[in-house]
Symmetry: C2
Subunit: 371 residues, 2 copies
DNA sequence: TTGACATGTGAGACCGGTCTCAAATACGCT
DNA sequence: AGCGTATTTGAGACCGGTCTCACATGTCAA
C-alpha cells in the first residue's frame, strides 16, 4: 500500500522539509521567482517530483491577486454560433496562458447578473460578455467599478465605455436587403429570434439587443432608399421559441400582401422558414426568396443552397479574448469598438418575386407553372 | 469623486470595522455559518451593502478546501455535439450550485493532460472528461489519486474504474446496419471522423476511442450475422480533416465493388458525403443510402431528409454532471457506467441498393431511370 | 586584511477568508 | 439572588502560497 495519502495534498512545506530547505526557498524554486543555487534547485525539484507536488493555484492567486483566468458569459453555448465564438476565445486565452470559466445566461439578464457576481467572486482577471439586454446593465458597470477589464462580444451597450467586438450588422442587413431589392423584391420581411413581448414590431423600445436594432435599421434604410414604403410592417420578433416560429412565419406568409422575401436572423429561424414553407407547399426561390444570417456548414447542402451572411464568429471570439488579455496585461488606451466585416455568400435561394400572390391558391398555380 | 477605491477590494475586515464588530462575527454573518444576533446581522449586512462587499471565493475555497467548481475537458466545443453536452453539464451544475471551468483538448491527449493539471491546480471539486485516447490515461489516474471524482463523458476507458455516461453505440450501429441490410444492402461502409494514421481500417490497434470501437463492432456484428463477408473492408477513418473526407469518400465510391450504403459517424461526415455525392453526380437514396449519427436539426431539412441515430446529447451532459455532483457530495457506491439509449429516426435517405454499379456511367443511367 | 557588493537562504508577515476555543453575556429556573 | 446552561462574540490560528527583509556567505578589489 505505497500510496500518497489522499486526505491532504502535498504542499510546498512538505516539499521544503523533504528537501531540507526552508519553505521560502522551496517556493522560490517551484514558483520560478527569486534566486536559488543550482544544487538547491535540483534538490527541491527532485523532492517535488518524488512527492507528486502540485501547486495550489488558489493560494497562489490569493497572494498575487491574479488568477490567470477569464470569465465568459454567453447567451447559449448550445447555439453553434456561440460555440464557435467560445472556441475562438478559448484558443486565444490559452495561447496567452489564461484559462476560461464559462457561464450561460440563457439570454436572461437576471441570470447574467448572477453569473457576473459569481465570476467576480472567483476573482477572474477579466470578463467577456454577450450582454442580454441594453437596458439592464448595472452589473456590467459593477464589473468596471471592480477594476477588472470587460469586453463585450457580438453586441454593444451604448452608455458603457468598454471594448467591444462586433460584426457590421447594419451594413450586412443593408447589403442583404439590397440584394433582394435588386432581384425585384419590394416586400421584404426580417424575422428575428430575439425575445420580445409582441411578435409584431412596434418600435425600438421592444428591442434590447444592439445587433437586432442595427439590422432592423439596415433593412429599413435599404428599403427606404429604394422607395419602399413602411418596410417595418414586415418585421417580426421572437421566432426562437419552439412552435412560435412556425406560427409567425405562416401567418406572415398567408396574410394579405405577403412578403416575397425573408431575411432570417439566424440559422434556426432559416430552418423554421424551410419547414414552414414545406408545410405550406411553397418553394424557394420560386415562391419566396431567403437570406439567412450565419454561414452554418449545412446551409450549402439544402436544396436550394441558402444565400447567407457569413460572420467571422471564431474571429469574434479570438479577437475579444486577445483584446481582453491586452487590457489585463495593462494597456491604457481608450476603449474601442472593433467591427468585423461580414460577407454575403450568394447561393441559390434568391429569385425573382412571383408576379401575383394574392392567395395561397394562386401561389400553388404559380409554383406549378414554374417548377 | 465619490468612488470606491478601485485599488484594493473591500474585505471582510473592512466590513467588520465599519459595522463595529469583530472580523469573525462579520464573517459568520456574511458566510452564513455559526450564529449572530439579529441586530448584529442587520448591522453587518448594512455595512457590507454600503461598502459594496463581495466575498473572495478564492480565499473561501482555500480554507474550506471546496471550490464549488467542476472542470470540464471536452474534445471540441465548436462541435455542436459537445456544445449540447456542455449545456447539459452547465445546467445540471448550476442547479446544484457549481460553476464550470471549460477546457478544450482538441482531441489531443497531450493537451488534455495539460488541461487536467491546470484544473487540478485550480482545485476543482471534480472533473468531467471526454478522454481523447484509451491509451494515454496516466493523467486520468492522477485525477483519481488526487482524490477528486471523475466522470467520463461519451467514452469509456477499460482499465479505469470511474463513473461514465455513454450512449449505446454498439447497438445503435448494429440497428442502423440492420436497417440498411433489411433494405437490401450488402456492401455497407462505416466512415468515421476519428483521427488515425491510415484512412483504411486495419484493426483495433488503430482506434483509440471506445465509441469508435463499439460502433465498428456493431457494424461488423450485424453484417456478419447477415452472412456478409469481410465487412471491415468498407470501414474508413480520419474523415474529419478538411479535404480528407471528400478524398476518402470519393475513392471509396469510385472503387470497384463500391458500397451502396454509408453509415456516417457524425454530421460533419454526413455533410461531406452529401457534398461529394453532388460532385460525383450521385443522389440519395437512388445511388447510395445514408444514415448518420447525431440528429442535428438541419438533417430533417435536406433533400432527402437524412435518417439518423438520435443521441441524447444534452442528457449525456446533464446526467454526468449530476453524477459528479453526487460523488462530490459524497456517495460511496461503486463506479457505474450509465448507458443512454439512442433512437433510429427513419427519414428518407434509405432506399434499395442500385442493381448494378460497376462504373459511374452506369450509375448515372440508373439515376436517370429512377428519378 | 578589510570593506563593498552580489548572491543565497530563512524567518515571518501577509492575502482574505474559515474555524476552534474560550470568554462574555443572556436566559431560565429554583 | 444564584446557578446552570445556551447563545453570542472576539482573539487568533490556519489554509498554501508570495514576498519583504535581514542575515549569512562568497567574490573581488583596494
Amino acid at each position: 500500500m505505497k500510496r500518497t495519502t489522499s486526505k491532504r495534498l502535498v504542499t510546498i512545506s512538505d516539499v521544503a522539509q523533504s528537501a531540507g530547505v526552508s519553505k521560502a526557498t522551496a517556493a522560490r524554486v517551484l514558483g520560478s521567482y527569486g534566486t536559488a543555487s543550482p544544487v538547491v534547485k535540483e534538490k527541491v525539484r527532485e523532492a517535488a517530483k518524488r512527492l507528486g507536488y502540485q501547486a495550489n493555484e488558489l493560494a497562489r492567486s490569493m497572494t498575487t491577486g491574479k488568477s490567470k483566468t477569464i470569465g465568459v458569459i454567453v447567451g447559449d453555448i448550445e447555439n453553434p454560433y456561440f460555440g464557435q465564438a467560445v472556441r475562438g476565445i478559448s484558443d486565444a486565452a490559452h495561447a496567452a496562458g489564461f484559462d476560461v470559466i464559462l457561464s450561460n445566461s440563457g439570454e436572461d439578464a437576471a441570470k447574467e447578473k448572477a453569473a457576473v457576481r459569481v465570476l467576480l467572486g472567483k476573482r477572474v482577471d477579466g470578463l467577456i460578455v454577450t450582454p442580454a439586454s441594453v437596458y439592464e446593465t448595472q452589473h456590467l458597470h459593477e464589473i468596471q467599478r471592480s477594476g477588472r477589464p470587460l469586453v463585450l462580444l457580438d453586441r454593444t451597450i451604448p452608455d458603457l465605455a468598454v471594448d467591444a467586438v462586433v460584426t457590421d450588422d447594419r451594413q450586412a442587413a443593408e447589403a442583404a436587403t439590397r440584394a433582394l431589392i435588386e432581384a425585384g423584391h419590394r416586400r421584404i420581411a426580417y424575422i428575428s429570434a430575439t425575445e420580445a413581448d409582441d411578435p409584431i414590431y412596434r418600435g425600438p423600445h421592444q428591442i434590447n439587443l444592439s445587433t437586432v436594432m442595427e439590422r432592423i435599421e439596415g433593412v429599413v434604410a435599404a428599403s427606404r432608399s429604394a422607395g419602399i414604403e413602411n418596410p417595418e410592417r414586415y418585421i417580426r420578433l421572437g421566432a426562437n421559441r419552439r412552435g412560435e416560429g412556425d406560427k409567425i412565419i405562416s401567418e406572415l406568409l398567408q396574410g394579405a400582401d405577403r412578403p416575397t422575401a425573408i431575411l432570417a436572423s439566424d440559422n434556426v429561424v432559416a430552418l423554421e422558414v424551410f419547414k414552414t414553407l414545406r408545410r405550406l407547399g411553397m418553394s424557394i426561390p420560386q415562391d419566396l426568396s431567403l437570406i439567412a444570417f450565419h454561414d452554418a456548414d449545412w446551409t450549402s447542402v439544402t436544396s436550394p443552397p441558402i444565400t447567407v451572411i457569413a460572420q467571422p464568429v471564431y474571429d469574434l471570439g479570438f479577437e475579444s479574448a486577445q483584446i481582453l488579455v491586452r487590457r489585463i496585461t495593462g494597456s491604457g488606451d481608450a476603449p474601442r469598438c472593433r467591427v468585423l466585416a461580414t460577407t454575403l455568400i450568394k447561393r441559390q435561394s434568391i429569385g425573382a418575386p412571383p408576379e401575383i400572390q394574392e392567395s395561397p391558391a394562386v401561389l400553388q398555380n404559380n409554383a406549378a407553372k414554374i417548377g
